[in-house]
Symmetry: C2
Subunit: 220 residues, 2 copies
């Protein structure tokens, strides 16, 4: 089964929006994610249906097939491995990698990915803390909750971010919140959901709910 670059991008978007096949996804959602028009999405869904990577009944909705799942995970694996390469080997900052990885993920060469994986020492997570599927598509995911859902005095470790936009990542750099940091919730403001945390037992950090929602924590 061979997918075009566009098809891979749609499938990846569907995988992400459906949270790995769990939630249902709308045509409009996909259009927004891919930054295209709903009409284009409809057309592509028909094609993806014909290729049997999704099961599609028009007006009703879609479901990723096991084949589609496998292919989506393959693309995600490639994307995240390239991100690790860019950060670990080429000194990219974590907010600079997405766009380039978006291109690199479409390179077709199983040998290349095998070798890259080995060269990087079989990393389990990308620079944003997202798990890298192995060659069989298996994902070692850690149970994690958004920072805004933690209670006062609860402790944990930042393991990933939900939003990977350069704007958000640069903000985190600025305030010193990085993946791996130990944190403890000091206070929560009921009114607006903002939160105060202690980072690495030495630095107080105050942030809005909007920010906290995009920081994922492994609780201790």
């Amino acid at each position: 089964m061979e997918l075009t670059t566009a098809e891979e991008n749609y499938l990846k978007a569907i995988y992400h929006l459906s949270d790995g096949g769990k939630k249902s996804v709308s045509t409009n959602d996909i259009a927004a994610e891919i930054r295209t028009k709903p009409a284009s999405v409809s057309d592509m869904l028909r094609k993806l249906g014909e290729k049997e990577v999704i099961q599609y009944r028009k007006y009703y909705g879609l479901q990723i097939t096991p084949l589609g799942m496998r292919l989506a995970l393959q693309t995600i694996r490639k994307h995240r491995l390239w991100e690790v390469f860019l950060v670990d080997k080429l000194q990219f900052a974590w907010d600079e990698v997405h766009e380039v990885a978006e291109q690199l993920e479409h390179i077709q060469s199983p040998l290349l990915i095998e070798r890259l994986d080995a060269y990087l020492n079989y990393p389990k997570f990308d620079p944003h803390g997202d798990p890298i599927p192995d060659a069989f598509g298996d994902v070692r995911s850690r149970p994690r909750i958004a920072l805004n859902e933690m209670g006062i005095d609860q402790s944990g470790q930042i393991v990933a971010v939900k939003d990977s936009s350069p704007e958000f990542l640069r903000y985190l750099d600025k305030v010193g919140a990085y993946i791996g940091a130990r944190i403890k919730v000091l206070d929560k403001v009921e009114f607006d959901g903002s939160i105060e945390i202690l980072v690495d037992q030495k630095k107080n950090l105050f942030m809005s709910k909007e920010v906290a929602k995009n920081i994922l924590i492994l609780t201790l």
Copy 2:
């Protein structure tokens, strides 16, 4: 100036076939090189002419413009840097790199290429001995002649190969002819142009003219 992947491939082919803008190139030659039909080439030449990367007068021929030269060299630079990466870092054999580099060369990211170049320690030649243009498109080319053009008793060093097909490169691996090897011409057969050489002062090697033509030597 932005070129599509297809345009980059055509421009690269034109650059190679014209020997860097020296020789004239025919529509048929380009079609053969790109493995496409002459009709497609005509169409593309018109487009490349409009984009002013070549000067094109139909039925007469074409000439690369300085702009086209710069863009072609940029693509070649990327191709060869990726080849070095694949061989030096990912343990690819020199006959396995071409196809993958053909894809990687189209990744658009100036930062990526800068960083890759630095990471590889600013290599001057790719695994086949071809010079890598620097960021300004300057090429440090060495004067070199084909092995079949050398005279008896002449010595030199293998610096590059003309043919980069897996078949040819694997043959060279098998007989122990590698880039960097010191060689000396022991005998030449007038009848068929075949040649006998001494490799690294210890190994005798007999080869056809067809093979010798594709081995490039830096004479001492």
